[in-house]
Amino acid sequence: MSANRWWGRPATTLAACVARGELSAEQAVESGWEAASTWEGDVHAVAHADATVRARAARTAPPGPLRGVPVIVKDNLCTAGDYPTTCGSRILAGYRAPYDATVIRRLRAAGAVLTAKGNMDEFAMGSSTEFSCYGPTRNPYDLTRVPGGSSGGPAAAVAYGLAPLGLGSDTGGSVRQPAAFCGVFGLKPTYGRLSRYGLVAFGSSLDQVGLFARHAGDVALLYSLLAGPDLRDATTRASPPPDVSAWDRGVKGLSFGWPENLWREGVEPEVVAALEEAAACLERAGARRVAFDFLPGTYAVATYYLVATAEASSNLARFDGVRYGPRAPSTDVWSLYVRSRSQGFGPEVKRRILLGTYALSAGYYDAFYLKAQRARTRIRREYQAAFGRCDFMLLPVAPTLAFRLGEKTTDPLAMYLSDIFTIGANLAGIPGLAVPLGLAGSGLPRAVQLVGPEDSEPTLLRAGRALEVRGEVARLGREHETEFPWPMKR
């Protein structure tokens, strides 16, 4: 029996089979790498991997709900003793973290095996995974297209079956958008529900660790294992996280917002079609559609880019060549800073550091950063008001399906605007779930986004599951269809 029999199975199935002794943890991990032998050379989703390291991890995985389940985590999550943690940046070339991020610690304690570190836009700044010092990741559904970003590596790897689960980080859509482009589930939890300790910071008040999986049930399981307070992250919530165990309960009695005004222009017809199908599907499953106009701050994109870059300019100050990372030869400390940083950071990171530094400068602080904070408060209130009328909202993830490599790298503004539907959840600190919804005629994955109030993860997962069952979920490798037990009906 080939290990590939196990390829594409849900994490829950793999874990159950490992627990019953039907396959070993090592086999579970290597089944994904068999798939990688087909895909990885073209897709380039992996930034760091090591066969010896993952074999050892598989052998020594403790018993737990994820025993033997491979997980790919983004290169900005600190992992000790196995892989480098480099954030896709030259400035961290070869850097090995001396400690595990809290979510990594929890993953390992649950028996999961870190099978690789996923490629990403440098320091999570980007929407296409083209800004990585390791080169771009490609979309497994169309190698001429981007997988989305910045967590494009884990998203693409989960899509092609390297692992059933992945971790990314979502500052403005960096989990949901690549999930949508690659046809997998992507959850950005409520701010403060997943510890950020050990996640290399981009915009601290916006960053959340996000989850990738091919199945709604796997998202629920992963969330239940990782969410919860962490004494090492003062921004985690002290209360117990919401219970997502009823993810398969259906959507009867739920209402969803339908802010059609948002996609009247500037959104591809395929995206609109997916939204309409999703709405119809939810209605058939017993949910109620509430149509209303929603204007989540005309200035959301401006607000987001001010807050995110301001925080980033300070967060990235520590990368100076003094304590870790490559140090440029220099004769004094100032040239050491200037050279190490000039050589270490890529162009998009430099652009954002400059923007953020400017926004915080004396004389501009009130006009930019302070005003952005006020706008943010207003955006949060507008979301709250919308959730007074519905349990969650149906939104696009991105205005387009996966775009071509190189299409937006020369036009930063176009790249920034592609975040328009995802940044709201980050600004408001609320959860968003990207749900795959079959393939477009072009063969590219389609998706919709479910956004709810704080701690509405259980509701979003119920709705995501309803779409998974009744909708059409994207898949790769049609020839493997019979061996792909996707829990869906056509």
């Binding site: 900005n76 999550l77 600190c78 943690t85 954030c87 961290l92 850097y95 973290a97 001396p98 400690y99 991020a101 950020r196 300790y197 050990g198 996640l199 290399v200 910071a201 915009g203 601290s204 008040s205 004494l231 090492r232 992250d233 003062a234 921004t235 301001a310 925080e311 300019s313 300070s314 100050a317 520590r318 990368f319 100076d320 003094v322 304590r323 870790y324 400390v333 800073y337 530094t357 915080l360 400068s361 004396a362 602080y365 950063y369």
Partner: protein, 483 residues
């Protein structure tokens, strides 16, 4: 031309908490370089700060004793600038919403009670320490020790309320005493537990406007504050008197050479790009916490000084010395509490006990262990009643401080109870009279003071153990009989 100096101080107090401000590393001084470090205080990627509540508690103690207003929701902020001993290249501090505002520190200056108003006290983290340049082969090398990085600091900013450098020295001494009194800092300026920067400008006496100010850094001893400010005031006065203008600048005081050097001029002023620290929620200090801290505050030293003068009738000088440290004043109070007259207790503590403390390099805490206040009270009582002579009392102190032990036991073991029986003392008196015909004749000639000499001689013969009163009576009687 006459000038009036306007001076404001910025003091940093390193807190003596067990762990650092935002991580669990020990905050101790003197560990081997870079041993008390972790991902948080090294600013490693992904690490996050968590507030040490013990440091906030210390800030509340200081703030409440000084009468500050405590902000219920204060905010941490990032102060951004690059420096190799600052691991994150930003310092977590407080900016526009500090924990404590207002308040004042009472200081006694040349017997006058003064009170210097404060602007604010806030909590922040210390930086590491740079050592440079060292030489490795032909290359200069700088080294950084991050043990101090993240150690909690309180920054206290005064109003520009000082006019004389001596006032600043007295303020700093008062602040150091208070920090130690509250046991929130060791207050050792040599070790950098208390550091001071000053702003100074000159103006014509009586003017209400302010001149251009300079900032002096590194005023790290009380003498240094006074000398550094004196030097800068003289420099500014000379510039102004020569018709020049003061340039805004930051100066560094070199205490070893009593010199000021320009660190940076105005063009190089930092833009610190302060913004609220997104990794930390608002710091909430509720009324219950404030009241709990207030409830366990000790009586402040200046209140004690007043009480000693007003209620115990001590001279202000005594009160000031006794209240220099909390251990000393607690000890004094315990001696008084054991029934000793206050002035007598004050004399014994200030002369005898402090003499041993200083001569033996003891801490006052150790001294109080060797000679508990109760024992000192017993010793004073025995001396006052004449049961032992004051010479014997000193002998007892000597032994107790040297070897420890109960004073009563020492008195018994050494047979120090004063000899007061005339039968025992009369032979000694007679010997002395026989050996000193000169003084005897002088006394007879009316020189009463000679009696003191003769008493001393008898005391000497008795090994200091004769009761002086009895000796005197016997001498008088014998001299009368001889006549």
């Amino acid at each position: 031309m006459a000038h009036e100096a306007v001076i404001g101080l910025e003091c940093h107090i390193q807190l003596a908490t067990r762990s650092k401000m935002f991580c669990e590393c020990p905050a101790e001084f003197g560990a081997s370089p870079n041993s008390n470090v972790c991902p948080v205080c090294l600013g490693l990627p992904g690490a996050l700060p968590v507030v040490n509540r013990a440091a906030i508690d210390a800030a509340l103690q200081l703030g409440l004793v000084l009468g500050c207003t405590i902000r219920e929701a204060s905010v941490f902020a990032r102060k951004n600038y690059f420096y190799p001993d600052m691991p994150k290249n930003y310092q977590i501090t407080q900016y526009d919403r500090p924990l404590c505002e207002g308040g004042a520190l009472p200081v006694r200056l040349c017997e006058t009670a003064r009170s210097f108003p404060l602007i604010r006290i806030h909590v922040e983290e210390d930086t590491g320490k740079s050592f440079h340049p060292e030489r490795t082969g032909d290359r200069p090398v700088s080294r950084v020790d991050f043990n101090r990085a993240g150690v909690p600091l309180l920054e206290l900013v005064t109003e520009p309320a000082f006019r004389q450098p001596e006032e600043c020295g007295a303020f700093l001494a008062g602040l150091r005493r208070l920090a130690r009194w509250l046991k929130i800092s060791d207050g050792d300026m040599e070790k950098g537990h208390l550091r001071c920067d000053a702003n100074v400008s000159l103006r014509p006496p009586g003017s209400a406007s302010l001149g251009t100010k300079t900032e002096i850094k590194n005023l790290n001893s009380i003498k240094g504050v006074e000398k550094g400010l004196t030097a800068e005031i003289a420099r500014q006065a000379a510039v102004l008197d020569a018709g020049g203008r003061i340039e805004q600048a930051t100066l560094l005081y070199d205490a070893d050479h009593d010199k000021l050097a320009v660190m940076r001029s105005k063009e190089y002023a930092h833009d610190y790009r302060y913004f609220p620290e997104p990794d930390l929620p608002q710091l909430t200090v509720d009324a219950a916490w404030v009241e709990e801290v207030r409830g366990r505050l000790p009586e402040p030293p200046w209140t004690r000084e007043d009480r000693y003068v007003d209620h115990l009738g001590l001279p202000a000088y005594d009160a000031a010395i006794l209240c220099e440290t909390r251990e000393r004043s607690d000890y004094f109070e315990a001696v008084v509490g054991a029934g000793t007259d206050a002035k007598r207790a004050s004399n014994w503590v200030m002369t005898e006990v402090l003499r041993h403390v200083n001569a033996r390099g003891l801490s006052e805490r150790e001294a109080a262990l060797r000679l508990p206040a109760k024992s000192l009270a017993v010793l004073i009582g025995a001396t006052e009643s004449g049961r032992i002579t004051s010479a014997s009392a000193k002998e007892v102190l000597e032994e107790v401080f040297e070897k420890g032990g109960d004073p009563e036991a020492v008195i018994a073991a050494r047979g120090l109870v004063a000899r007061s029986s005339p039968e025992e003392l009369l032979p000694l008196v007679r010997e002395v009279l026989a050996e000193n015909p000169g003084p005897v004749a002088q006394f007879r000639g009316g020189k009463q003071a000679t009696l003191g000499f003769l008493v001393g001689q008898v005391m000497k013969k008795s090994g200091g153990r004769a009761a002086p009163q009895v000796v005197q009576e016997l001498l008088r009687a014998e001299l009368g009989a001889l006549r």
